[in-house]
Each structure stands twice: as structure tokens, then as C-alpha cells.
């Protein structure tokens, strides 16, 4: 890091935090603090929704994923626009009509306080842990690549978020998110331009595309139906739609973003714009990774991108084995670069047979290189059992640090920390709302004044912020943790969605039937997770469908059970 990078990084973050504090400086009642006085317009809502979902790991890990596995991850988002349309038609008018603070508040009007409390607690557990990961992930990656102290990074970033989130509430969160997302996307755009510009001068953009495509990195769509493949068209469209319905429709960190809308129209427009922009945005981030991949076809990449693990294996008893792998990897790179040049020559000569021959040779050497990288990862796993032996998260930042010019490195780091702060602030904000509205005010002190609730919301934001920082301090094994948190979410999202769908669409299903249906749906998800190879995106579908069908069957069988409250909230 050069001085200009530090100036850009510290300057950007300081301005963002000061802006957040300034925007939220006015004294507020609970509505002002938790729903921004329901005054926000759709552009702010749309960007806030996108910024909540796009954490630092999105900007760090997604390009690495394209580097290692191609662009097929974009299919994960295909169900999202469908979910946005469904939520705009159903959930948004109901939430607005009931003037609720949290999504779980609505469940009480339909199924009673027990279901509301259960879903609130499930949310607090899941979101509390994942907010810690949101904070921890970029700190770990930056500490590995730049050698920063991970503890200081965690604490400093965490406290900056707590400062403006606690003082300014939802309005400060949403307003800062607009700028944070724009900075993050701007940083990625600059990185993309420089990646393309850094390619050898005789390689055109179309040739770069063709090299990436021939090497399987532009595989955006795969129509093959396979329940075991994590990302294909069908799992993305169907499983992704269910996941997005649950995440955007029932997760308070998202629901709170569009509850701030000045009207149903503003909230709906916010969600729909998110539906229109999100898929191209993810495609763009993946495309950055694909171009970084092409760049590393001409410049030798390291065998393993995580420098800390690399250093550890170099001083272990496997050091010689690792050196041999590095030598093999260097040799394979030389072969691969020669094959890429042959491919380019064949393309320029419009020699189709030559293109096919060069592609086949390239794929063979690439397969050998992949095997060498896998052997290195296995060696690292043996050196440190339980260590994170995936280097996907480190690829993009390694490229940024090694090849981007002074100033731009600071900008990209600022982009990454802005993304971390925006996702963390939404998490803390929603945790505070649920703690105060669904737990404290509902179960503890129903007649608490607005002033008391605002004060407690600020304290809850600080407490959850400290919890997230503490969890980040003690967390390790990044790769497995992130996977665990994602899978943990999918274990419950389907079932929670089932409860909400029953509440939205049925008038006669009682609280008991919904509860039993949810238990059966959850059991089905757990069974799939333990006893089948089903990809985790499908768990959302299973939990939701089984939960709804089981609740309807229970309601039919136990016909004498009266509905809890035939409510006007059902549509």
C-alpha cells in the first residue's frame, strides 16, 4: 500500500461514516429511527436493498469463483426477479397496510404470538451469526494479502459501522448504502478496465472473450437438469426464486429496507428495480473474474493465492513436496501460455481445425494445472488439518494488490470495506428492530414509550455490533464457515417462507396446523440435508412445499380445529 492508497481508503471511509452520522443527526421517534419515517423514495430503497445483499465477500469471492469455476454462479440469481414481482404483488401491500415495523409482527395477526416469537428468534440467531461473518470475511482476506492485523481491522470497521448505525438508525443506513454501493461498483468497474487494459497489446477484447470461453469461463447458462449440481438454470430459477422469496419477503434485514418506502408504490418500485438490476450486476462482477482469469493466462499466477497458508506449508515437513508442485505448476503455465498463443494464431487465421486442436491441447494442460492446484490444496490441508484450503476468496485481491496502480488499490479496498459496512449496517439495524419490537416491546414491556424504544434500539445496535465484532474475533476457518452459514440459512428459509405463504394466502389454516406443517417441512429439509446429495438451493423448495402441503393436510384432518383469527391480512 502506497501513501496515495491510504489517503483514498481512509478518506473514502471517513467521508462515508461522517455522512451517515450527519444524515441521521436529527432526533427521532421510533418510526423515524426504525423506518426512516417512511419517507424514502424508490431509488434509495432499490440501492439499499442491493447493498444489503452485496457484502464484501460478494465483491471478493465472486470474481474468484468465475476464475476457478466460470460464470455459472450467475444462474443462482435467475429466480430473483420472479420473487420481486411476487413480493410486490403480495407482501408489500400487506406490510404497508398493517404499518408494521418487522416482518414477524405480521405473523402475530395471523398465527399468534408464539409463531411471531419463534421466527424472530430464528432470525436473531441466523442474522446475528451471519453479520459477524460479514464483518470477518473481508478483514481476514485483507489481513492475509496485506498483512494487516485482523483484530484491529475487525474492531475498527465494526466500530465505524456501529457509530453511524446506532446514531442515525435506518435512515443513516439507507442513505449511506446508496453511496457505498456506487463506490463498490465503481471500484469493480475500474478493476475491470485495468484488467482488460493489462492484457498483452496484441490481444483484442473479442479474443480475450474467446480464450475465456474456450477455457470454460463464460459458461453463464447450463440448461441440464441435475439435482446434484449446485448451479444450473433450473436450480437457479426455481430454488433461487424460493430462496429470494424467503430472503426478501421474510428476512428483516431486507424487509426493513422497503418498509421505509413513502408509499406502496415506492416500496414496490424499489423491489422491482432490484429485480431488474441485480442479475446484470452479478454478471458484471463475475465477468471481472473471467477477465482476471484471462489476464493470468499471460502472467504466471501463484500456485495457491492464500499467502499465509503458502508460508506455513513452506516451513512444514511438506515444504519439498510443495516446491515440486510449484515447479510443476510453472512448467504447466509455460505450456499453457504457448497453447493460448497457438489458439490465438489459429483464431486470427480463421483456421477452425487449428482452433479445435489448440483448444483440446489447452483443456488438457488446464486439467493438469487444476489437478496440481488441487494437490497443493490437499497438501495445505495436511499441513494444517481443518485449515481453509480454498483460495478462491484471495484471487481477486491478489490481482488488485499486485497489478493495479497506486490510488486504484486504495479505491478497490475502499469499495470492499464499503460493501462490508453496508451489509453489516443493515444486519445490525434489523437485529435491533427485531430485538426491540418483537422481543422487548411485545414480551417485556408492551407500554414502553417511543423514547425508551429508541434508546433501547440504539443500545441493541451497539450490543449486536459488539457481538458481531466478538464473533468475528473468534471466528476462523473462513471457507467452511461461510458455507456453513449459507447452508444454515437454507435449512430454515424454506420453512419460514412456508409460514409466511400460509399467512398470506390461506384464511382457514390455524396457527397449530401452520406450526405442525412447519415442523414437518423442517424435518423434510433435515432429511434431505443428511441423507441425500441434493444441492442446498433445493432445500428451500423442499422446506416450503412440504411445509405448505403438510399444514393444509393437518388442517383438513383436524377439521374441528378453529382458525386462530380470520384476518383481513390474508389475501
Amino acid at each position: 500500500m502506497r501513501p496515495i492508497d491510504w489517503i483514498v481508503l481512509i478518506g473514502t471511509l471517513a467521508v462515508i461514516v461522517a455522512y451517515g452520522v450527519w444524515k441521521g443527526r436529527h432526533k427521532k421517534d421510533l418510526d423515524g429511527y426504525l423506518r426512516a419515517g417512511r419517507q424514502l423514495k424508490w431509488p434509495t430503497i432499490a440501492l439499499s436493498i442491493m447493498a444489503t445483499q452485496a457484502s464484501a465477500i460478494t465483491f471478493l469471492s465472486t470474481p474468484g469463483q468465475a476464475y476457478a469455476d466460470g460464470m455459472r454462479f450467475v444462474q443462482f440469481y435467475l429466480g430473483l426477479p420472479i420473487a420481486m414481482v411476487i413480493l410486490s404483488i403480495t407482501a408489500v401491500p400487506i406490510y404497508h397496510r398493517l404499518q408494521i415495523f418487522t416482518a414477524y409482527e405480521y405473523l402475530e395477526t395471523r398465527f399468534g404470538v408464539g409463531t411471531r416469537t419463534l421466527t424472530s428468534i430464528l432470525f436473531l440467531i441466523q442474522r446475528g451469526l451471519s453479520t459477524g461473518i460479514t464483518l470477518y470475511a473481508p478483514a481476514l482476506i485483507v489481513s492475509v494479502i496485506l498483512g494487516w492485523n485482523i483484530h484491529i481491522t475487525n474492531v475498527v470497521v465494526g466500530l465505524m459501522v456501529v457509530l453511524y448505525t446506532a446514531t442515525g438508525g435506518t435512515k443513516a443506513v439507507s442513505r449511506t448504502q446508496v453511496h457505498q454501493l456506487l463506490i463498490a461498483l465503481g471500484g469493480m468497474a475500474v478493476a475491470l478496465i485495468i484488467a482488460i487494459h493489462s492484457l498483452p497489446h496484441d490481444v483484442t477484447l473479442v479474443e480475450a472473450f474467446r480464450v475465456a470461453g474456450r477455457m470454460g469461463r463464460l459458461n453463464a447458462i447450463d440448461f441440464k437438469f441435475d439435482l446434484k449440481t449446485p448451479y444450473n438454470f433450473w436450480s437457479g430459477l426455481i430454488g433461487g426464486a424460493f430462496l429470494a422469496l424467503s430472503y426478501f419477503g421474510t428476512d428483516q434485514s431486507q424487509v426493513q429496507r422497503y418498509l421505509t418506502g413513502a408509499s406502496v408504490t415506492e416500496s414496490r418500485l424499489g423491489l422491482l428495480i432490484n429485480g431488474m438490476v441485480k442479475v446484470p450486476m452479478q454478471f458484471f462482477i463475475l465477468f471481472v473474474g473471467a477477465m482476471v482469469f484471462v489476464f493470468y493466462q499471460f502472467i504466471a499466477p501463484p500456485l495457491f493465492f492464500n499467502t499465509v497458508q503458502r508460508a506455513k506449508v513452506a516451513t512444514s515437513r511438506y515444504a519439498k513436496d510443495y516446491e515440486q508442485l510449484e515447479a510443476r505448476h510453472r512448467q504447466q503455465f509455460v505450456e499453457k501460455r504457448a497453447d493460448v498463443q497457438t489458439l490465438l494464431k489459429a483464431m486470427r487465421a480463421h483456421d477452425n481445425a487449428g482452433v479445435e486442436t489448440a483448444t483440446n491441447a489447452l483443456r488438457l494442460v488446464q486439467a493438469r494445472e487444476t489437478a496440481t492446484r488441487a494437490a497443493a490444496a490437499a497438501l495445505i490441508g495436511r499441513t494444517q488439518p481443518g485449515a481453509d484450503n480454498s483460495d478462491t476468496n484471495y484471487i481477486f485481491l491478489t490481482f488488485v494488490i499486485d497489478f493495479l496502480p497506486a490510488g486504484v488499490v486504495g479505491l478497490v479496498l475502499a469499495a470492499i470495506f464499503c460493501a462490508a459496512m453496508s451489509a453489516t449496517s443493515s444486519g445490525l439495524n434489523s437485529l435491533a428492530s427485531t430485538t426491540v419490537v418483537d422481543i422487548f416491546r411485545r414480551l417485556g414491556k408492551p407500554h414502553a414509550t417511543d423514547a425508551e424504544c429508541v434508546r433501547l434500539s440504539k443500545l441493541a445496535t451497539i450490543a449486536w455490533g459488539l457481538f458481531a465484532i466478538a464473533f468475528a474475533e473468534f471466528a476462523n476457518k473462513l471457507g467452511s464457515l461461510i458455507e456453513a452459514v449459507n447452508k444454515l440459512g437454507s435449512l430454515f428459509y424454506g420453512t419460514i417462507l412456508a409460514i409466511f405463504l400460509l399467512a398470506f394466502y390461506t384464511k382457514r389454516v390455524s396457527g397449530t396446523a401452520a406450526f405442525l406443517g412447519a415442523l414437518i417441512g423442517e424435518a423434510a429439509v433435515v432429511w434431505c440435508a443428511i441423507f441425500t446429495d441434493m444441492a442446498w438451493l433445493w432445500w428451500n423448495v423442499i422446506g416450503c412445499v412440504v411445509g405448505v402441503v403438510a399444514a393444509l393436510l393437518v388442517q383438513t384432518v383436524v377439521a374441528e380445529q378453529k382458525p386462530t383469527s380470520p384476518t383481513s391480512a390474508a389475501v
Binding site: W42, V74, V85, A220, I221, F223, T265, E266
Partner: protein, 35 residues
């Protein structure tokens, strides 16, 4: 699209879904064109 103006919701929902369909087609063409 104005915050105050009337929004034709069915058309907007259709536009979101049509954009998705178009993106899928573009992504598919992109995949095939450079494979």
C-alpha cells in the same frame, strides 16, 4: 417513472419478467458464442 405518477403495474411486472427472459437468452447466446 415518477414517484408521484401512476404506474401501470401489470406492464411493469411484465417488463421485469421480459427483461429476465431476454437476459437468459443473451447469457445463453454468450455461453454458446464463446464456448
Amino acid at each position: 417513472m415518477s414517484s408521484e405518477g401512476k404506474v401501470n403495474w401489470p406492464w411493469l411486472y411484465a417488463a421485469v419478467l421480459a427483461e429476465l427472459a431476454l437476459l437468459i437468452l443473451i447469457f445463453y447466446a454468450f455461453t454458446k458464442a464463446f464456448a
